[in-house]
Symmetry: C2
Subunit: 341 residues, 2 copies
DNA sequence: GTGAAAGCGCTAACAC
DNA sequence: GTGTTAGCGCTTTCAC
């Protein structure tokens, strides 16, 4: 960190401000001086100091990524590396840095966010989850700090920029697909019931059943953490019902792996005894045994668009909140079969 | 970003420098003034500006994480979220920020690293991979910038701080385990042959065979990218050999999933027809069908220790390079079986 | 134990 | 087109 803008200015025989303008590629600087200055930069091996720039310009060109609390396994869900890929791509396109939260509990994450907002280290934030009654989200809203959420905000939907899929419709489509395949006893396995995405998908599922005139059965909707023993128990109970389901909708590929595992333990054949339809279509869905039918929600694209949205939010602070809906596709693989009546 | 140290100073009737000292919890400030200043901070809702602090103190309290190039699927390997968990934990313990690279190609990542080093935005760097002839690593070495690598550096091993497992011994142990189980026809499936970790593991495998007096067969060592068609072909060829192996050592759990898949397609039963032993023991290993025997390399711990190592490197720039070896355990699951002679 | 003042490296008016 | 200058908000000698 030895060579500064002043050194370059001296060598090139110009003022520091001129050097600064060359860095910013200001059009008012003549090509001739630009060349001269750039030559001096190269000779000295100059690299701009981002910190100084940030302090002076009051912007860091860094975005903060708010992870879900990593206490439970949620952090390990392949969803996250996949969004990160999209986020990275977009950030790189716009020469933006990416900083991630490191908190384990919600409390810790909240503190970090507070510091990020006031510390000037990030220009905006991206929430990688959306859940009911999220303190972080409320805080950001009140602070009027630029942020977008990936997923649908539980409240204030129209005043918060977000990028999402139509998860209600996706849930409905999946249920319909299974209904059309002859299934009528369809259960839904969701994980954390606080996640808006789960809520939407299950609502869609319920809507499809209703339209088909099939009554909802409470014992057909399960919400348990599937990395834990509780989840196993729940599936076991489900399969022991006298009218056990012939098809399962599972809210997430990673959970589906666990479910497939349990079904195997219980001696159930997929799709022979029971069909499984999953969500997200991460790389894993294809590699599982049997390969999972899954809703491809274009995770990478969610990440990419989130950055783009955040950027316009930062550049035009007064602009209205925007919602961006990313399309999805049902990807059919061998984990589902038609029901023979 | 409205309220500054000056505002606090004014309200508390002290000098800005005193406020600064209170923030740093300088012991030379009396408890009385500390209380007074803290009260003023709370009243005003003061939060320090990290950028200004960084500029003045020439340290950012942010670490940079260098990801492997995300062009191929490597980024999506569950290894990464898992190390990130360890990194996060340690970073959070020490109130450090974490910034990640976003480059897709090696070229892009190199540029980013260059900027990170000179831009003052990070105090040190952690390389999440180690491969043969890595430009980034050479650059950091020459620049004498604080960094540690997760894995074993291919060159300059003794002058570069790193945290690693004894992958040679692990490879050997796995091969021995299979030999002890009666297998003699053991193949090794590695991914990218440039990764030092793969190289070490295969060396260990070779050493074990040699000690057992079993000749190495070239057609038993495969290096192909398993997310691609080439990988499938390779396994297929392997299984079509007249002396096809009865056991497979696969360099990574994620790859193992792909391998299990192909074996299934080829109609091979695991472990009935062939045993599979894997590495890393990510969450997935347990969820696969059949559950994978895998070497638990304590990924989280690798990440955690990397941060700790980097920190001492930053604090004591003159200190010698350190190597930290994290223990591993063979975790036996049903993907391996004894060979009946 | 506390204050005054310089300065970290850059940007952005404002001049001319 | 380019130079001058005043900060950005903090830390850190150096006084006392």
């Amino acid at each position: 960190m030895a060579v500064t803008i002043k050194d370059v200015a001296k060598l090139a025989n110009v003022a520091p401000s001129t050097v600064s303008r060359v860095i910013a590629n200001n059009p008012r600087i003549s090509e001739k001086t630009k060349r001269k200055v750039r030559k001096a930069m190269n000779e000295l091996g100059y690299h701009p100091n981002f910190i100084a720039r940030s302090l002076a310009s009051k912007s860091s060109d860094v975005l903060g990524i708010i992870m879900p609390r990593s206490g439970d396994g949620s952090f390990l869900n392949p969803f996250f590396p996949t969004v990160m890929k999209g986020l990275s791509q977009a950030a790189h396109d716009d020469r933006l840095g990416l900083q991630i939260t490191t908190g384990i509990t919600e409390e810790e994450i909240y503190d970090e966010v507070e510091k990020m907002v006031h510390g000037g280290r990030v220009d905006g934030l991206i929430l990688l989850y959306s859940k009911v009654g999220d303190k972080v989200l409320h805080y950001l809203r009140e602070a009027n700090f630029p942020f977008v959420v990936i997923g649908k905000p539980f409240e204030y939907e129209s005043s918060i920029s977000h990028v999402d899929n139509d998860n209600f419709q996706a849930g409905k489509d999946v249920a319909k697909y299974l209904l059309d395949s002859g299934h009528t006893d369809i259960a839904f396995i969701g994980g954390n019931a606080d996640l808006v995405v789960t809520i939407e998908r299950i609502k869609g599922y319920e809507a499809a059943l209703k339209e088909a005139g099939i009554p909802m059965r409470n014992e057909y909707a399960i919400h348990e953490d599937f990395m834990l023993e509780g989840g196993k128990e729940a599936v076991k109970r489900l399969m022991e019902l006298e009218n056990s389901p012939t098809a399962l909708i599972v809210a997430d590929d990673f959970m589906s792996l666990g479910v497939l595992n349990m079904l195997d333990e219980l001696g159930k054949d997929v799709p022979g005894d029971i069909s499984v339809f999953s969500f997200n279509n991460v790389l894993l869905a294809e590699l599982s045994k049997p390969p999972l039918s899954s809703v491809d929600i274009n995770i990478e694209s969610l990440g990419y668009q989130a950055v783009k949205l955040l950027l316009t939010r930062i550049k035009e602070p007064g602009s209205p909140a925007m919602r961006m809906i990313v399309p999805y596709q049902l990807v059919i693989r061998s984990s589902v079969a038609k029901m023979n009546k």
